[in-house]
Symmetry: C2
Subunit: 414 residues, 2 copies
Amino acid sequence: MDRIDRKLSNLTCIQCREEYPVQPFRYTCDCGGNLDYVFDYDYINSIWKKENLDKTAMDSVWRYLPLLPVNESPENINIRVGATPLIEFPNIAKELHFNQLYIKDDTRNPSGSLKDRASEIAIQHAKELGDNLLIAASTGNAAASLACLSAFHGVKALILAPDSAPIAKLTQILQYGAKLLPVNGSYDDAFDLSFELTKRYGWYSRNTGINPVMSEGKKTIAFEIAEQLNWISPDQIYVPVGDGCIIGAVYKGFYDLLKLGWISKIPALVAVQSENSAAVVNALESGGEIIPVKSNTIADSISVDLPRDGEKALAAVRHSNGFGILVSDEEILQAQLIMSSSTSIFCEPASAAAYAGMLKAAKENRISNLDNIVVLATGTGLKDISSAAKNVQIPVSVSPNIESAEKSLKELIH
Amino acid sequence: MDRIDRKLSNLTCIQCREEYPVQPFRYTCDCGGNLDYVFDYDYINSIWKKENLDKTAMDSVWRYLPLLPVNESPENINIRVGATPLIEFPNIAKELHFNQLYIKDDTRNPSGSLKDRASEIAIQHAKELGDNLLIAASTGNAAASLACLSAFHGVKALILAPDSAPIAKLTQILQYGAKLLPVNGSYDDAFDLSFELTKRYGWYSRNTGINPVMSEGKKTIAFEIAEQLNWISPDQIYVPVGDGCIIGAVYKGFYDLLKLGWISKIPALVAVQSENSAAVVNALESGGEIIPVKSNTIADSISVDLPRDGEKALAAVRHSNGFGILVSDEEILQAQLIMSSSTSIFCEPASAAAYAGMLKAAKENRISNLDNIVVLATGTGLKDISSAAKNVQIPVSVSPNIESAEKSLKELIH
């Protein structure tokens, strides 16, 4: 267990800039805006050196404790949240006419998604506040992640999910031993109910958008990318955007490192959304505010009407000189197949959307030939086999003899 | 890319002890027995030191190149095969009255199973032999693994599978871009047909049991366990056994290290099988030969009539002073739920079988209170959600208001 002694950071509202001390911990500003942690970078710089970090192996998100809003790392960190591979694909980069392509493979986290980074920090934060029950509304990766890591760290998890959620996702939550409360209503109903319970019982909320600790956990993916590239920032990062929490967190991670003087620029962040769930990209293109949409995309993890962290997402793209890009469901499914077969990383449709966005940007000459590009693989395709099945064709079977096999093989093997 | 210059190892038949040079490479002995690699440990000891290894971070199976039957590591190893977490569970060990419990979490490999260790080495081996197409008969983890890593390393994979295989598994294979030949017959039909094609076309066979390189790849899990425990062997390792390749490989890995003088004992290897697929354990208990069974278990990855590496499995258990243990399908499903909820590692039924075997052995006092125990988690539960769903009960849903929620919560939260 590591411990950090420091002045506690403050919370600031990203809309009205009102500041709050972190004790007592609060979720949102009185104005309704989302809160963000503010760190004392001079102090962190005085106690923590990049040179010392470079000497140890990347083992988990906990190596970045001085930049996390908690006091200690957990006793047992061997479950290894984070420290995921950053894999280069020079041949694909060459084909697409830019310098280098990297995929950050966050499907390799304990529950199969990037969400583990947020759950891991949130559970430690809850423990430090004396909370032993975490509540979340979700039907997907966040729920599985909270259930998984709560089992590991010995806290209780309560998941509220619409009762129409797929059996596969509910099964994973129950296998991890989390308490599941199916709600006869929509995801928004479950979300509102979970927040009401949070307020009434004082339980710890692991809801994206409300709780600023989520961004702080997810930002560790930016630290890792920077460290894996020897503190030389890539030029663009393609991020799937639903509620906007991940892209906001990636920005925050690079912002921290820039403030510490460890990197010299923040990469351009590219927000990739489905055409059918485009609230953030619509706002980027109009230059105005976020207007809720009626979402309907095969990429369920980024199917969102009202992005709960939309403001942070807009700021991330605007301040990093990034842009938004939209892809169709057809492009997403095509990209999933291209990505699996050319990179070996089999992702859920939301991550394939980011890859589709990168392919589209390359085609539209929005990537220069000197650029180093990162695509985030945020969740494994194994959680949603039915979408993946839509895009492959199982060949006709052969009789179990070599003559029959050879006839089919002529078409199969070139 | 690393390269090793050494005298090439020999191949020896595990039944008649006939020796063969590795060039030209062959799969089986003239007597029909399976082959095994023999290394020159004195030479390896003269060029490779444990002390130097200890100074570098565990990054992949390729750190053990001097003990692998290939000359080079691939150009790109960032996909990270192996280097999986070994996680300790002191509370569970205490409850079960032994010293320490570790789970080796091989679900964290690129395609979600231990089989990636074998595929990774086999693909490099095929490349060194000038083969560009690998063929395998499988419906499960081995097929997904070969398809995945072939996509990464740019070789072709041809999978033969019975056309009755689940759509989910066939989908994963096709997503990775492998060529799939569904066979209108049994798994044994597909296996025989694949071997016939191997002989006719000279393609490289990634079939367990036939190709000794499979054991050599899988043995890296033993190297990692030993290294992660600072070269102090655990007392027992619980291994799910189907065809017997994995347990044979675990033995081989510890045998290598013992011969090098890096460890002082080989752990007792415990072969865990389903009651309904018990060919290896039957032979262990009778003291005789392996007699094929008619297998029928929910743990599909260890559902085997005739274990293709049965002789290696028997030798592994006997020479390590281990034992066999049988578990029922009901015990497997129960153990899956216990394991997921108490360790956070959600495994396929085959791996849960190993955990069930450990629980049973503890209950039957076959583990002493000073023992350090390792259980292998060989494949992720996400690949077989339907089995996992059989053992959980989705609660009745509530109306989206706090009164309705509170009524259900009283039962749910204690």
